[in-house]
């Protein structure tokens, strides 16, 4: 049993939920204005319904903290979908096993074709995405893809099936920088109803994934839950608790958090818990105030007007011009039916960079260098 899983088993979902909803305006004000570092109890207060009336004040504090730490910049990244083959059944995902969509996994030539187009858009940071299909897209395929892509990009991250520690070590040695692995929901029973078949149905293995990544010495871990599956406040609190735990244990790793809200996709369910734009802003500000240094990321799931404003309030990285189908940039640019979810903000990378510039922000395309990576713990 992983350490965090055993910590989780000491908490009851209902008790935590109740304690968040019991926070008062006084608790929220205290959390917002205190001078010392903020605790998980402060985070609860900041995401509580009681803090909703403090949104403008929270935004002001969040903006200042973000500016100090990250300056007038937003990092740009783009997803590159390598495959939509998947053995899992996930109720919310377009790639789910039973969905009757055409399945494809990119070949070497196709990967390079995609890379060239993405590179020409200006990107230097790329996020490789796959479903979970261990035969078609196993660790060897990922290792091979990183090798193919390394000459094109300064920074390579993945969002794929959870792997073993040794497999992560192998990919890190190839130049893997970050792994994004969202728990989807921390509610164990609810998790099982959304992941009924496939390796992803193993809740404990998934929750243990950041731990394996930490042990493998990864540079960055991306956390998050899929907003809409369960009460977003409680799930976000668990995410924050996970983050806090990991930061102390794997202190050389940096962390990012994303806030995917359920989006329409082929054959998926309606959200159980709906989060408004205001609440998403509240959550983003709460994270920033809780952890000044954390990277907060927003994807093209969100609409243009929301994205035009949110980077000022705490977001530090954005994707743009994303395609969520394998081969979407160059190989099969017309086949939107293969996509994982429908994107909302369809503006190009150049348009987003221009929008940022008009607002006094610089789009940062390169903030890493291959030369900074050596296989782990080699200095001694």
């Amino acid at each position: 049993m992983s350490d965090f899983y055993s910590i989780l088993s000491q908490h009851s979902w209902d008790d935590i939920k109740e304690s968040i909803y019991a926070k008062t305006l006084v608790d929220a004000k205290h959390a917002l204005h205190k001078k010392e570092f903020r605790t998980l109890e402060d985070f609860k207060a900041l995401i509580s319904p009681a803090a909703e009336s403090l949104l403008e004040e929270m935004a002001q504090v969040s903006r200042q903290l973000t500016l100090n730490r990250f300056g007038n910049t937003v990092q740009m990244y783009v997803p590159l979908y390598l495959s939509n083959e998947c053995q899992n059944i996930c109720t919310y995902c377009g790639f789910s096993l039973h969905n009757k969509i055409k399945r494809t996994t990119l070949t070497d030539a196709q990967i390079i074709k995609e890379a060239e187009v993405i590179k020409a858009l200006g990107y230097d940071h790329v996020l490789l995405v796959t479903g979970e299909a261990n035969k078609a897209v196993g660790v060897e395929y990922l290792q091979h893809s990183i090798r193919l892509l390394k000459p094109y990009f300064a920074n390579i991250s993945i969002e794929v099936q959870p792997l073993e520690q040794e497999e992560y070590e192998l990919l890190i040695a190839e130049g893997l920088y970050a792994v994004l692995v969202y728990q989807e929901t921390y509610h164990e029973e609810e998790y099982k109803t959304h992941h009924t078949k496939g390796r992803k149905s193993n809740y404990e293995y998934r929750i243990d994934t950041p731990e394996r990544l930490g042990r493998a010495g990864i540079h960055k871990i991306g956390l998050g839950c899929l907003i809409g599956l369960e009460d977003w406040r409680t799930d976000s609190f668990y995410t924050a608790m996970h983050l806090d735990y990991l930061e102390k244990k794997y202190w050389q790793t940096r962390y990012s958090v994303s806030f995917p809200r359920l989006r329409p996709a082929e054959g998926i369910l309606e959200p159980k818990s709906v989060m408004t734009d205001k609440q998403l802003v509240q959550l983003i500000c709460a994270y920033r105030i809780f952890k000044e240094d954390i990277e907060l990321s927003i994807s093209t799931r969100e609409n243009a007007s929301f994205r035009n404003n949110i980077f000022r309030l705490g977001i530090t990285s954005m994707s743009a011009g994303s395609k969520t189908n394998p081969g979407g940039y160059a190989v099969f640019p017309e086949k939107e039916s293969l996509e994982q979810f429908e994107i909302d903000d369809k503006r190009s990378a150049t348009e987003i960079a221009e929008m940022l510039k008009l607002n006094g922000y610089e789009a940062v395309w390169k903030d890493w260098d291959k030369s900074l990576m050596q296989p782990k713990f080699t200095s001694s």
């Binding site: 300056g71 910049t73 202190w251 240094d293 610089e362 260098d369 030369s371 990576m373 713990f377």
Partner: protein
């Protein structure tokens, strides 16, 4: 009236204000701020530069005869990574100067003293002019001096915190004991902090966030330039001692007159 110049390695600096290139809203603004600051040593993160690209936008904006580049190794976690990165920077940016930054803790970006000392020793042997970023640890600064660094760069407070000289007591010991220039790096959030550092006898300061994140970075760069000059002149002019009470004469020894 001008304060004395500063020598680090084989270079003479008129300006004792070193600057950085991060966090600006665009590179034009960065260039203007650095220009008005009269800074002659500008640090740039290796990770932000396209080393293969001779027309990299950041580097293009720093091509002034006055400006010396100081590549930094921000992002590395070990001595081995730092040495490798410094070699690449030397090749790509055509300078053997390096600001050695090894901060494995991504939250406070606090420097690792053990890895820093190891890397400094090796880089000096490889012919680099090494300026290590370190905590305000007087013994570590002496150890670094012994392995041949060109200057030491102790922090005033955590990078980007703008808190000022929180480590002032240790900084004073470092300044007193050092045989190499002491550049106070990190934490300087206001021109008054910079002036204070210079009055204490620091040889230079490095300022980035406080300029880049100011509402008007160009005006703030100018303010820092003046503060650093004022602080240094005050140091050289020898500050009058601080006293708790006004004293007109020497009450204890007057009888000797």
């Amino acid at each position: 009236m001008k304060a004395s110049t500063l020598k680090i390695g084989d270079k003479i600096f008129q300006s004792r204000l070193f600057t950085g290139t991060g966090k600006f809203s665009n590179n034009d603004l960065m260039e203007k701020a650095i220009e008005i600051s009269e800074s002659e040593l500008v640090t740039v993160a290796l990770k932000r530069v396209n080393l293969d690209d001779k027309n990299d936008d950041i580097i293009k904006h720093l091509k002034h005869s006055r400006i010396n580049l100081l590549p930094n190794t921000s992002g590395v976690r070990t001595a081995k990574e730092a040495v490798f990165a410094a070699q690449l920077a030397r090749e790509a940016l055509d300078t053997n100067w390096v600001k050695l930054e090894i901060h494995p803790d991504p939250r406070y970006l606090l420097p690792d003293p053990i890895e820093t000392l190891k890397a400094a020793e090796e880089l000096v042997k490889l012919g680099f002019v090494v300026l290590p970023y370190v905590n305000a640890d007087p013994v570590l600064c002496k150890r670094l001096e012994e392995v041949g660094v060109a200057a030491v760069m102790p922090l005033g407070a955590a990078i980007g915190s703008n808190k000022g000289l929180k480590t002032v007591d240790m900084l004073q010991i470092i300044i007193e004991e050092s045989n190499v220039p002491v550049v106070i790096d990190a934490g300087i959030g206001a021109p008054s902090h910079a002036a204070y550092a210079m009055e204490l006898g620091a040889d230079a300061v490095l300022v980035n966030t406080a300029i880049a994140v100011a509402k008007d970075p160009v005006a703030m760069a100018y303010a820092f330039k003046m503060a650093v000059e004022a602080g240094r002149l005050a140091y050289e002019a020898k500050l009058a001692p601080i006293k708790n009470k006004a004293e007109a004469s020497s009450p204890l020894t007057a009888f000797l007159q």
